[in-house]
Symmetry: C2
Subunit: 350 residues, 2 copies
């Protein structure tokens, strides 16, 4: 796989978005969020999404100029209308408000309605961690997952991210789809022509399948059986039902519905550790937990015990040094897009 | 199995707790929470816990007279010191504060330090639902579960409950341990002399086991692999590390440590749907979701699609009518306790 510097990919994507009418600062934000995903090894939410974001803007399904608006507000809560703008733009702003409210009220909880795909959830929880806060981010997503015991999709793979600041150590960062795996990984397998493991998904007849294309027409399965299924439903309640966005199968599909807006909902939550005690003591206790977990003897088949997010930080460190590898299909797709829009494609790294 | 009326069991347990120095209102609360668990079919958190609660009070490890105190407060947050009192007492109070704060600030988040076993988490989220709120409750627990990739226990089976009010339908209530199954179910299997399925637990050498006694000396496994493991860790962060309670393996074990206090931490969170829009519209949208999920065709091997908590409500309805069945071991243990303390054991139902 060819490798590119993170900066050159951010620059490329930014130029692409500016070409289709996105303001420079918003274009930079979306591009940065995608490349951050590639850096962390979460390529399903990386620059591979550029094409679909651009397509939806060009078809008038996403308003690149929309400015989010605060609809309701209390001391610790806010509801934002994304006005069908770019998901990353409203999400960054929503977490900013959550952090501000947490600083004053102890916690801040901000819901977002009428939005679009927001990319990698950890992008926003890392934003909170950067301000010394515990951050939580979640979103609903188009229906691709069957509730436990059902044969048809009802909810999305509704992701959840939680990030916790540490002191000497890197933050603890959970970022997970509530499906066995992110649907993006099924999409990527389909693009690469690879099979998927059993247990990831069922086909449209409700049979277990290893064919990613059949899986994309069927349903992915919730992680952890009925527990993961319930968590996915609750994320839809907080992101979609509470905020007034669409929910369940009523959301517009990013890839398959070019008639309707997505009308996605998100929820962002910030907790100020200082409202419960000395923030430095909190971070020191997190450090203690991390060092104790790292010191546990690994189970059979494991060389090392990893904290949530630790592998992603290692990926990021390596890819910042060595460059971001792009899957051939993704690279080809982006080069085509560069040609279509007259944007310069960056040089590969040696 | 013999069956008893719920009221008679609440009355019995209350008399038991009063005998060991608990005030009548607190004794009622603990008893009600345990019998509620039995009614819902969650017998692992039912009256089977009476003996250990009493034991710890009699040994001076739990202070039956302690009154929780608010240590810190902001508009949307509070930190309570349970002062080593009864877990159910401080938890009920903490959720009350969270609800009150949610009514004013939009959301309320209350942490509890220096507490004890709080029983069934859904007891508190149902309390929130009774006030029209979305409720979240979590607690840390003595280390019995190995983090993903590790061989030794570090965190507890740290349960999470979330409850959502509906209008025409029953509330949606998730209440789950973050282990594959609640450790209480392993304890119950050990009491009944039954085997446990593979995948629930490892023995102290890190090998998969079907012997509940070996499992109780080893570690239970997180649900959903690395995702469930991360969620369990994050619950410990919010319940234990943030509040100033103990965390990880530093918590006192309910059943195995008769030297130390438990020093458990909990976290309670209430969200007022009215801070995001019309509360009636919210409930109507929840109703819509429930009816749509109920209408999905069941998967192979399922007769019906259940919402989280639906089976427990059915159990409760049936057991209120037919009585609460007690496992023989539990019944014998309670009859012994009745004799020891000179408390009348209730009549079985015909």
């Amino acid at each position: 796989m060819n490798r590119y510097s993170a900066d050159s990919l951010v620059g490329f994507c930014k130029n692409v978005f500016v070409k289709v009418g996105v303001d420079a600062d918003k274009a930079h934000l979306v591009s940065d969020s995608m490349v951050k995903a590639d850096l962390r090894g979460v390529s399903s939410h990386g620059v591979t999404r550029t094409r679909i974001y651009v397509d939806r803007i060009r078809r008038g399904l996403v308003d690149p100029k929309a400015e989010p608006e605060i609809i309701r507000e209390r001391a610790a809560t806010a509801l934002l209308d994304a006005k069908n703008g770019i998901g990353q733009v409203v999400s960054r702003y929503a977490m900013e408000i959550a952090i501000k409210k947490a600083r004053e009220a102890g916690v801040g909880f901000v819901g977002v309605a009428h939005s679009n795909h927001f990319g990698m959830a950890a992008y926003y929880t890392l934003q909170a961690v950067g301000e010394g806060m515990i951050g939580v981010a979640m979103t609903n997503a188009p229906a691709t997952m069957a509730p436990w015991g059902a044969r048809l999709p009802y909810m999305g793979t509704n992701p959840l991210s939680v990030a916790i600041p540490a002191d000497k150590y890197l933050p603890v960062v959970l970022d997970m789809a509530t499906s066995v795996v992110a649907r993006g990984k099924v999409i990527l397998a389909a693009q690469k022509g690879e099979k998927i493991p059993e247990g990831w998904a069922i086909d449209k007849e409700g049979r277990v399948t290893t064919d990613p294309k059949a899986a994309l027409e069927g349903a992915v399965l919730p992680f952890g059986g009925p527990k993961g299924s319930a968590i996915a439903i609750l994320i839809d309640v907080l992101s979609g039902i509470l905020t007034g966005a669409s929910f369940g199968p009523h959301l517009g599909d990013l890839y398959r519905n070019f008639q309707d807006k997505q009308d996605i909902g998100h929820a962002f939550y910030a907790i100020d550790p200082a409202s419960f005690g000395d923030a430095a003591v909190f971070k020191a206790r997190i450090d203690q937990m991390i060092s104790e977990i790292k010191a546990l003897p690994p189970a059979h088949g494991f060389d090392e015990v990893f904290l949530p997010g630790e592998i992603e930080f290692r990926n990021e460190e390596r890819r910042r040094a060595e460059g971001v590898p792009l899957a051939e299909e993704t690279e080809k797709d982006l080069i085509d897009l560069a040609r279509e829009l007259g944007v310069t494609w960056p040089e590969t790294l040696p």
